[in-house]
Amino acid sequence: MPSILRPQTFPPYLYRMLQSILFLLLLVAAFGLFAWQVRKIRANILVGRDRDMSGHAAERLRKTLLVAFGQQKMFKRMTPALLHLVVYVGFLVINIEVIEIVIDGLFGNIFGFHRSLSFLGPVYDVLMATNEILAALVIVAVAAFWWRRNSNPPVRRFTGVELRMWPKLDANIILYIEVALMLALFFMNTADLKLHQLEGKDLPGTFPVSNLLVGLLPSSTGALEIMERAGWWIHITGIFLFLNYLPSSKHFHIIMAFPNVWYSRLVPQGQFSNVESITNEVKAMMDPSFVVPPAPTAPDGSALAPTPFGAKDVEDLPWTNLLNAYSCTECGRCTSVCPANLTGKLLSPRKIIMDTRDRMEEKYESPLIFRPNQYGPEAKHELVTDLLEATLLRGKVTPEELWACTTCNACVESCPVNINPLESIIEMRRFLVLEESAAPNSLNVMFSNIENNGAPWAFSPSDRFNWADDLFAAEKPAKITVA
């Protein structure tokens, strides 16, 4: 019986060749477009200030394996950790099948083979079975994720001013795409399986889930062939579309988490960066013989515009903080443990990271989709809207948010991909204080107390040792220790 896909007038090899050429074009277009978007994002990250993150390869590798690859920090919360693990492992394993799809798509059609990895024999059986079980579990996990976000009320960390409109839609789009991809996989496998059964042939691989679904499909080989091809093309086209959706989406974390963890700080969390230019100034003040190193010059030898203290806009932040912004999957663990946010203040560490990404794409390059957060009246933000003044600081992040931070590091500790919102907060505080003298008045009082009294309170420095007056202790022999 002639298939609809292979009319007698159309030679089969030509038809197969056409599929291969089509696939090749699709593959090149998908990766080309992706590379074009990645270049833009790379350029955005590199507008940030220089920071040497080289060295310590062994320690960085260990961290990347544990935190990024091993998802160590996810396991602080068991339920989401297990759900996420299913989708993560599903993504890794099902990608092995994508390799097969690419080989089949490029060469299988021309040379008339199908399921190119089936030579693996029993390993292939296990691989296909694992794939199918994982794909089914992914659908279950995604349904749970959807419920956690969209039920009423949703899990608290999926709320907040920064998680309305595009970010909210984005999160759901990802879930819908993931389900669609898994369904296409089942559609393809089930049709293929039934086709082979009808032809009395054995399909390589084991398909525990598709085996249950064969009854749902019609028993016409022609229809099944179309279904198998349709499932195949939808699955791979879907993956290519998803790949190109990533740079516009929070889902980009599946790639960026790895470099982000690699380049995360290795020093204790309490250690804040020192500003080197200030160190030079202070040294020169305290020691007149200190020679201040010359300011960096442009490649042509001309003087560079002086860089401000702290950060007013994205290019004033270290590049690692910009990398942070592209690694954020907006999960809100940071915000949900932030003491300021928990007690109703405006500060949300997640918002600062999301604002940073929005601002980069507003000012510099943007990927295919760019819908920056528009904070409505419920955001209670008084933001500067004059375009020239709408920098990261004041255009998106208000001083009120920054001053609410207790620098407690809970956000840094909680981030599963080692994003450091605290560093961005401090950089913006530095700009407010050192460039604009715009600290809250009570902090200015504290500063002048330190300057004048050597203490943050208004005490006389001559009273500093009064605590030792009339200090008595009960007479008690020191304990004799036996070595």
Binding site: L342, L443, A455
Partner: protein, 301 residues
Amino acid sequence: MSPSTPEAPAKKQINVPVMADLAARNESPEILFWVGCAGAFDDRYKRVTRAFVRILDHVGTKYAVLGLEESCTGDPAKRAGNEFLFQMQAMQNITTMNGYGIKKIVTACPHCFNTIKNEYPALGGDYEVIHHSTYLQQLINEGKVGVSGGESFKGRRITFHDSCYLGRANDIYEAPREVLAALDADLVEMKRSRANGLCCGAGGAQMWKEPEPGKKDINIERTEEALATLAGKADALANLGGVETETAAPGAHDLQGSIIAVGCPFCMTMMSDGVKNKEQESKVQVFDLAELVASAEGINA
């Protein structure tokens, strides 16, 4: 112990050794006790400073303080964004300490601890810095402090509030707990503890300003958690924000005699204010580790 003797136990005066005097005698201490501004000026925390000095004196450590030569480490300035003022303070202190050839520092303030340990080295100040919780733990482990002969804490409920600059900032979680464990008290853990500990609300220079508008103050949120933990109120604990997981405390306990233990002057202020706000100050007390150890050791006078 002889309950029949009515007169007060013999007491002695401690003359706290000052670094300048030691240097004049060409002596050097084993350890410099960095008092910190709160330890020197805050009336409540001065009691902690004095308790810690009693311990230092009791174990016979050769220590000294900078006295009038000490100045703010610059921590609040740095966290508030005033990097210039921080570095001025840091350079001044480093000049002082390097002039005396200081090698080892102990401090009862996690903010001073963090700043000197982590941020001074890049500015030329390299010292071995330890927090007093670690130091007390060492004294107990070495048997120099027996935590006996004074007040008994047996059976009293104590919960330890992790300071951010000791815990998350520097990964010190066990030392304060081991010190408390030596008291033989009933230690209870708050749901948000160790790396998940909730800030008292004072860090990042919040100590010196009013909080931004919000639903409640952070120290109230934290105190409520501490009180609910000490009282064993499962329903109160279940409603705490930020943590999605299970665990509930057992049956309810009387709060009388319970203690919130801290290891930081700002946590001390915040938690004490919180307890007062909740009108529980007649039942629940806030103590620093050094005070508890000095009491248990019976060296207060």
